[in-house]
């Protein structure tokens, strides 16, 4: 299998990210001339006409949020796949996404249309989702942890159980919800970045940026973990501490990403997988590579979601799934031909 040099790949991914940032800023329901976009970065003292306001209050936070959430989901996905020693693992395996669904639908259900319609609605849903995600993950983690340490195999099974349970609870909420609530719940589950505003960008950045800087440092230890837990221990890695730290970090990262954007499918699963095919499984490059490509891809998907049926918007998660699933199947088919067992 041909591999690309990690440095070359990461440089290319960076260029893609910059291009998609600009694409995201250029395109949208109203046409804004490119000169204004560059003017936005160039000078602080500008006349605040309509175009500038759209750029500053709507498009810029939205592209930043998409990029940060994408980077966060993809790098957490890479870490999860390493931790579970399974190239098809996904951040939602530890129950974050399904727990967040319960949290969000709980807020929508009990908050009622009056809360959801108000300006407090979206932040309340985000907080509900975050709390739900963390609760579910901590239950999964507790179930899998005994005196002899955390078993990733048990964690996988516990994750499946909690996901099933959460799914049932979410369905119950949906069942008893009225039409408007039901619409909100299902829209949230589709994954959407339409609530992007500066406070959300700040919350996401506060978690995503440290995470993206810290996670690659665990790359070498994660490589050793792929050999097996006892092998990693014999290589001098403090395995239990590493697992605890990484589960906490990914739960936090995915929790916040899901809270601000709903469930955006496939980014956490597909991006690391794709990057691994291109540059190999070394986590020291895989994690930063996934972060950059994840940012670019979610940004492009979100731009498509905004523009395909403009002025109406499609849910971003639908676009990522529509594009991601066939792509993933193609990857699997291609791999199946190459694998020599």
């Amino acid at each position: 299998m041909h591999r690309y040099s990690p440095i070359k790949f990461i440089s290319l991914a960076c260029i893609t990210l910059v291009v998609s940032l600009l694409c995201g800023l250029f395109s949208g329901a109203s046409d804004i001339p490119p000169s204004k976009i560059f003017g936005l970065f160039a000078s602080g003292h500008m006349d605040m006409d309509m175009d500038h306001r759209i750029l500053q209050m709507i498009r810029l936070p939205r592209v930043l949020l998409a990029a940060l959430a994408g980077a966060c989901l993809a790098s957490c996905g890479a870490v999860m796949q390493g931790l579970f020693r399974n190239p098809l693992a996904d951040p939602s395996l530890i129950g974050v996404s399904s727990g967040a669904s319960v949290g969000a639908s709980c807020v929508i259900f009990f908050g009622g249309v009056s809360l959801i319609g108000s300006s407090l609605g979206l932040p309340a849903i985000a907080i509900g989702a975050f709390v739900g995600g963390l609760l579910a993950t901590s239950v999964v983690y507790k179930l899998a942890t005994s005196v002899s340490g955390t078993s990733v195999a048990t964690m996988l099974l516990a994750g499946i159980a909690i996901t099933a349970l959460s799914g049932a609870v979410t369905s119950l909420f949906s069942f008893f919800a009225d039409n408007e609530m039901l619409r909100r719940i299902s829209l949230w589950q589709m994954g959407n970045l339409d609530g992007a505003d500066w406070p959300r960008v700040a919350a996401m950045a506060l978690v995503a940026i440290p995470l993206i800087l810290v996670l690659p440092r665990e790359g070498q230890a994660l490589n050793a973990m792929l050999l097996g837990e006892s092998e990693a221990r014999h290589l001098g890695i403090a395995v239990e501490k590493l697992k605890r730290r990484l589960i906490l970090l990914t739960a936090l990262g995915v929790g916040v990403a899901v809270a601000v954007s709903g469930i955006v499918a496939f980014v956490g699963l597909m991006v690391p997988h794709l990057v691994r095919l291109l540059i190999g499984p070394d986590h020291r490059y895989l994690i930063p590579g996934s972060a950059i490509l994840g940012a670019a891809l979610l940004l492009l998907a979100d731009t498509l979601a905004r523009t395909l049926m403009s002025p109406a918007e499609l849910p971003t998660g639908v676009i990522t799934a529509l594009l991601g699933a066939p792509f993933f199947v193609a990857l699997l088919l291609q791999q199946r031909q190459k694998i020599v067992v």
Binding site: R85, L227, E231, L235, G236
Partner: protein
């Protein structure tokens, strides 16, 4: 030196090992033999600190094994497990390079050692081959090279120990021989080697000391000539065997 003092291990009232006393001196190759379920792998796990004994102690270079700093220990204690669950397409070189994780000797030095280790196991040709596409024997050789890389050179932390769990199980005759040569070579550099091995003749050919386990107890311990007797093999393995002498090396030869 790695020492076991009165080691016992029981898991939920079931006794796996009882009162094991062992001394693994630098430069000595020790082979642990015994029938299935005798506790060979359990003993190895105790010796490398993976399982904690129910009672007794493992002392490594004068310090209790669990008191060692993980990173420091990793520089002088290499462990080859029976099989690794690695299912990511690392190249052979990348896998072997992981043996240098506990060290900080710089890329140039590490590359040199990795080259030498791959060559020593006859795996230079595997260099860029993905691990997931190798045969069982090739995988085992790459893992062996990784463990050798880990303890390739003497370290300030103390005497080195190499622990191998059935290192030859996936190998053809030539590679079995190669492995035993590597083991002897390491022993000559003052490394204590301890391995579980099923083939009694291989054990006799390369070990200075045999430890015969039977139902969690040491049935016999000492030079191959003293341990491999008709009576002991009859008693422990439940087969009647004749003992000959290897025409070239003079070591005992078990014929079943």
């Amino acid at each position: 030196m790695l020492e076991a003092q009165h080691l016992s291990l029981s898991i939920s009232d079931f006794s796996l090992l009882q009162d094991i006393n062992l001394q693994l001196k630098p430069g000595v190759v020790t082979a642990i033999i015994g029938p299935n379920g005798a506790g060979k792998t359990s003993l190895l796990r105790l010796l490398c600190g993976e399982t904690k004994p129910s009672s007794g102690e493992v002392i490594f270079n004068g310090i209790l094994l669990d008191q060692w700093q993980p990173k420091q220990l990793a520089r002088i204690l290499g462990v080859l497990p029976q099989g690794s669950p690695l299912n990511f397409p690392f190249t052979a070189r990348e896998v072997v390079m992981m043996g240098r994780i506990p060290h900080s000797t710089g890329l140039e030095k590490d590359t040199e050692i990795v080259d030498a280790a791959l060559e020593s196991v006859g795996g230079s040709y595997l260099d860029k081959r993905p691990y997931t596409q190798m045969s069982g024997g090739e995988k085992q050789r790459v893992q062996l090279a990784r463990v050798l890389t880990q303890i390739w050179e003497p370290d300030d932390s103390g005497d080195r120990v190499l622990i191998l769990d059935e290192p030859t199980s996936a190998f053809d005759l030539a590679h079995q021989q190669l492995t035993l040569d590597i083991v002897k070579n390491f022993a000559q550099q003052k490394v204590s080697v301890v391995m579980v091995i099923h083939d009694l003749n291989l054990a006799a050919a390369c070990a200075d000391q045999l430890v015969m386990l039977d139902c969690g107890k040491i049935a016999a311990q000492g030079a191959p000539e003293a341990v491999l007797t008709t009576e002991l093999i009859e008693k422990v393995f439940n087969v009647s065997a004749s003992i000959g002498v290897h025409p070239k090396t003079g070591s005992p030869l078990v014929i079943v």
